[in-house]
Amino acid sequence: MTTAPSRVTAQRAGLSRPARPGRPTPVPPRRRRWLRLARWSGWLWVLPALLMYAIFVLRPLALTFQYSLYHWNGIGVARWAGLENYVTVFTDRDLLKIVGNAFVLIIFFSFIPVGLGLVIAALVRRISSGPFGTAVRTILFLPQVIPLVAAGIAWSWLLSSTGLVNQLLRGIGLDGLARAWLGEFDTALPSVGLIGAWVLLGLCTILLITGMSKIDPALYESARLDGAGPIREFLAITLPSLRQEIGVCLTVTVIAALASFDIVYIATGGGPGLQTTVPGLEIYRLAFAQRQVGLASALGVVLMALVLICVLPIQRLTREDKG
């Protein structure tokens, strides 16, 4: 792939004089050297981006691995720890629970938006393109556009003891169910999950609707002629055709769940207890409040690995068939 340009340019250079038989592209040595130089000078285009990336991502990445092998409080002398920090991450009850929380959030951040999005998209199939359609699109994208922090604040208010959710429950006579949703042990994590579902539902729905509008209507017609009902139709045509879009939704939402920080920080601060603490928040707390830089870094490496372990299979399974 990298040899293609040189061949093209070399041929062009060769065009000026008749090609000698038995010899491929006869480029004079000086010209050839210049060409090689020109090819290498292409690096100048890549260099600024690579430099910023190396300084502010690759170096920190390497340092994260390095820190994770030490006990360090960020100021004093670092003490070699070997894999001790990793052992802690995989055996400490609290840390395991925190990683578990992230997986619970996947149910809310990923499965609900994608599942509900599919149902809505199947029912709507083609969003009307008139002003109604435009307005709906615009509004459904709102949660994607505002800061996650704002979503956190809005929903903490909605779910608070005097908030709208409780007001509605009392309104229909379910006073017994009213509670401080984000403050109680059993409801805190699902409530945080609900906020994530709200943020991601619109994006998933529109993505899936867009994907559906590309499906050939003839497919549905022939399915109807074969006597397929709406459910058969959905399973046999819609779902397979949307493989790529579903993959995208799952990738985006799973990363949002595993790497969640903003919403949790604002809505609950990780509480009550450790009920809603997620790895991202724990890294922040360990590194900057508790000064356990080594342990925070080990958790960071594990988080990175978790994202890859979850996302790579999704990419594999849902790529369009390119072999």
Partner: protein, 274 residues
């Protein structure tokens, strides 16, 4: 005909329900923001005497003028540079196909799914060593680096599809690579560049983690970071908190409504590619 009408109606009803769920948090915040200060508002109840002055109070308390300026400075530091160097790199990797480019591209891909939390600790110490903690540079410089995987990936995807004959023709016309880049390639890449600019603007404006870790002074943060500080300070005053939150998210909302077509296109493409 009858059936399709009913289908139309149900689909519309579903969409309207979804729209209501999306809007409810905003409406609830607005109703709380208009209650008299010092009261404990109900979830949703239109006040008999709406206190629009609460917004003025929140504007002053949140120091909105300084926040806007700070966010704009950070965006101005991050977005143009990121877009420029990513476009150049995309051009080098996708069109010039520099030797070893595949390896470099894979190196960039490595960062594509990287959670910011995983590298925030070393970034903190690095920024500290550079003596930039608590300045806007502390957000600007790392963000440019952190955006590179996506931005380069995005621009390379554009340049790899540009027909090679185009630059060959430019070369025959006697222009060097630099001129060809600016006169032929950049104008052609305008849609890709515009989408990237929108996405980077949005992500920078809404960046929270870097803002709270690297900058203590909330008037030197991004809008989202400042909102976090505002919540910490006024979290118990529900009326003021709602008014302040609405104010702080208004700029994004305005920009979004003006450019909504481009935003939605960029967001859809962005998630499809990323």
């Amino acid at each position: 005909m009858n059936l399709s009408r009913r289908e139309q109606l149900t689909s519309r009803l579903f969409l309207i329900a979804l729209v209501l769920v999306t809007l409810l948090p905003f409406v609830s915040m607005l109703s709380a923001a208009l209650q008299p200060r010092g009261t404990v508002p109900d979830g949703l109840s239109w006040p008999t005497d709406p206190q629009w002055g609460n917004f003025v109070d929140a504007f002053n308390v949140a120091n909105m003028g300084a926040l806007l300026r700070s966010s704009l400075l950070i965006v101005a530091g991050v977005v143009p540079v990121s877009v420029l160097i990513a476009t150049m790199a995309g051009f080098g990797l996708g069109h010039l196909r520099v030797p070893g480019g595949r390896f470099v591209f894979l190196l960039f891909l490595l960062g594509l799914t990287l959670p910011f939390e995983a590298v925030i600790t070393p970034i903190y110490y690095q920024v500290q060593q550079l003596g930039l903690l608590n300045t806007r540079w502390a957000i600007i410089l790392p963000l440019i680096g952190l955006y590179m995987p996506f931005a380069v990936f995005w621009m390379r995807a554009h340049f790899i599809n540009v027909p090679r004959e185009l630059s060959d023709a430019a070369r025959v016309d006697g222009s060097n690579t630099w001129q060809m880049f600016w006169r032929v390639q950049v104008p052609l890449a305008r849609p890709a560049i515009a989408s990237l600019t929108i996405l980077l603007f949005l992500w920078t404006w809404n960046q929270f983690l870097l803002a709270i870790v690297l900058v203590d002074d909330s008037t030197k943060r991004t809008m989202a970071g400042a909102l976090g500080a505002f919540q910490g300070q006024w979290g118990t005053d529900q009326v003021l908190l709602c008014a302040g939150s609405l104010l702080i998210l208004t700029p994004t909302l305005i920009v979004f409504l003006i450019f909504q077509r481009q935003f939605i296109k960029a967001l859809l493409q962005g998630s499809l590619k990323g």
